[in-house]
Symmetry: C2
Subunit: 429 residues, 2 copies
Amino acid sequence: MDHRDSGFFADQASLEMEDFVLLDYCFESVIEPAAAAAHLCQEQSTAQWQRVGVDEDLRERFGAKVIDLAVTGVFDQPSHPVPSIETAKTYQCRVRIAHPHRNFGPRIPNFLTAALGEGAFYSPGIAAIKLMDVEFPQSFLRHFEGPKFGVQGLRDMLQVYDRPIFFGVVKPNIGLSPDDFAELAYQSWLGGLDIAKDDEMLSDVPWSPLRERAEKAGKARLKAEEITGERKIYLANITDEVDRLIHLHDIAVERGANALMVNGMTTGLSAVRMLRKHTRVPLVAHFDFIAPLTHISYFGVHSKVMTKLQRLAGFDVIIFPGFGARMKTPDEDVSSSVQECLKPWGHIKRVLPVPAGSQWAASTGMLYERLKTVDFGIVPGRAVFAHPMGPKGGAASLRQGWEAAVSGQSLEVYAQNHKELQLAIESNS
Amino acid sequence: MDHRDSGFFADQASLEMEDFVLLDYCFESVIEPAAAAAHLCQEQSTAQWQRVGVDEDLRERFGAKVIDLAVTGVFDQPSHPVPSIETAKTYQCRVRIAHPHRNFGPRIPNFLTAALGEGAFYSPGIAAIKLMDVEFPQSFLRHFEGPKFGVQGLRDMLQVYDRPIFFGVVKPNIGLSPDDFAELAYQSWLGGLDIAKDDEMLSDVPWSPLRERAEKAGKARLKAEEITGERKIYLANITDEVDRLIHLHDIAVERGANALMVNGMTTGLSAVRMLRKHTRVPLVAHFDFIAPLTHISYFGVHSKVMTKLQRLAGFDVIIFPGFGARMKTPDEDVSSSVQECLKPWGHIKRVLPVPAGSQWAASTGMLYERLKTVDFGIVPGRAVFAHPMGPKGGAASLRQGWEAAVSGQSLEVYAQNHKELQLAIESNS
């Protein structure tokens, strides 16, 4: 059988592309690549395409279709030992599949089912597979609201247009009373943070009820705004069971939180989309529970896809693992997530990328040099809150680090007249 | 520094165990194992445990603690190449961590953040990590409702107590009109299916609105019950955006669906817990989007943990990858998921395991022999709906397969007087 005739192949030119989402997979096959690609389409769409005794073929309208297939390598065995698959000649392939979105509609869970469900991971002959990219046509995209604020909305809130945004995670991250928390946040705002935030582990807990924390941090924020003459944000983490998200939004926002964080994959991206319809403040994504999906080079989902889906769900800011040894992420993966945040995407607003991990005063300059844009944030924790001069000094050292970068001076030279920066350099070496 | 003194180690005997969830990880470390384990606790709990200038130590009350650590192997390099980690002496370790649940409370997203968030996957020196098991104390578990029906409730609905449950996925899985769908389901019930179900890809779509499908399949179900004298279930897939789940529950149940399926990881387990509070019928889990978390032996999450969390969220039936080459899952992983469904677990009801994948008439006998219980289901698709005699014949062949097993006859001998089984054997060989 020639698999090109199987009903699961098509010329892209012959398709009405507005009807399809494009799925770009890498896979490793121990069977003939075209047969494996046909199976992959069959299993993720119309696994059985006719009834017994009925002359019909549902593939034309409902079948996913291979529109491009390339063998990118041949190996002696798959990267991933599969119980049922003996060591065998293995084809490493790249396939582009056009999947008719009428099969699932403009809904995140149903899209995930199609692209990353049983069809993708249990297709015959395929030992390993990774979803590398996805493209949605306008006919699909138009059903999504996307971010409510985006980069521009966040900048308008802060009235900051010409530099990166300084986030900081209040530390100690868990265990503080709301009073102590608010005091640390206050000091960090005075020092120069734009956004003091809850750690991703800090939620609505009896020893720090969100109601009380938001009230106290909210008041401290207003005081800091008055003293500094700058706009400030208290970013509260409302990650919780999905039937509490709207309620927690209201509690936090009414008391003074003016941005909210959700660990999107632990609550589910669909819950974020729900929250987006309701929210009055920017939504910030944290990356918990994404690593097990993305970290294996030949298996799972590419991190850029997860970034794209978070933007689609309606986040205004996406925190993800950044550059550097600490975050165990290839540089090109970080760069592609930055691009997914910032590139034009129809009516879906640009979102602020925050490539995170062990950041300090030098991070803004290094990121600016690499990204060639000021549209990003940094989100240190200990560099602010374990600074020898405390959070006010720590936050000041971040601002000084950026001033050095803008002035064209080295960090060391600029530090000669800036004690907070000098201490940051000493702490970090 | 002796890491045993770091504040992240404890004797289990010294802890009030009701205050802790137990997390059992495998990890591969390129640094000294005790240092790696201490980092792992620190990163997942109180990453910075004192304020600058304050004499305090938040670790005692909020720190996760190593209660057992063993080196299980030493290798030349990690299984998983990490950009920042050179090939280096690698310790394969097993660690048991007691994490104080006051840090996150009895909530699924916050538990996932603690156990599978940034702390687990970005801990210094750890190249690969997998969460192998988790145990919840009664003080945590009592906040969860768990399954509403469980095995017993489902059996009471069907009035079937002495044999496995016959599910079948109506195929063609997508593309059928509600009328055609209902007719196939009807035939399969007449033939002997207990439960005719929507495919995981079939949701509330314009070409088969759930409202209409549930109405027609619901009527067909009543007719089949009248004719066969048996109770039947129409299992509708309501997987959708989370803010539609309750609405779709009501639409489907009011019209005649008497069980509902949700692809739990694509909607999020927290959404399932929400639905559980509302549901009037049993909830059935499909395993889409779990494979990328579980399939790598040294990375991610063990499939038994995902099964346990689905039971905790309130599913009454859990469909998961079963035995055999098709499902690419080690036998022991399948067995441990079966156990997670059926073992006593405080007030949390037992749930029906459905180890799935390419099943047919022989599957019940083989599973019974292996599992030594009738408390399981099978869920074929093509064995019923592509059977040469159509779905009625296909469903009959399943019942005959079980009759053969009970009678002690071989399938082949029993098939001599049972044409449907005979044809199933021929189709399957």
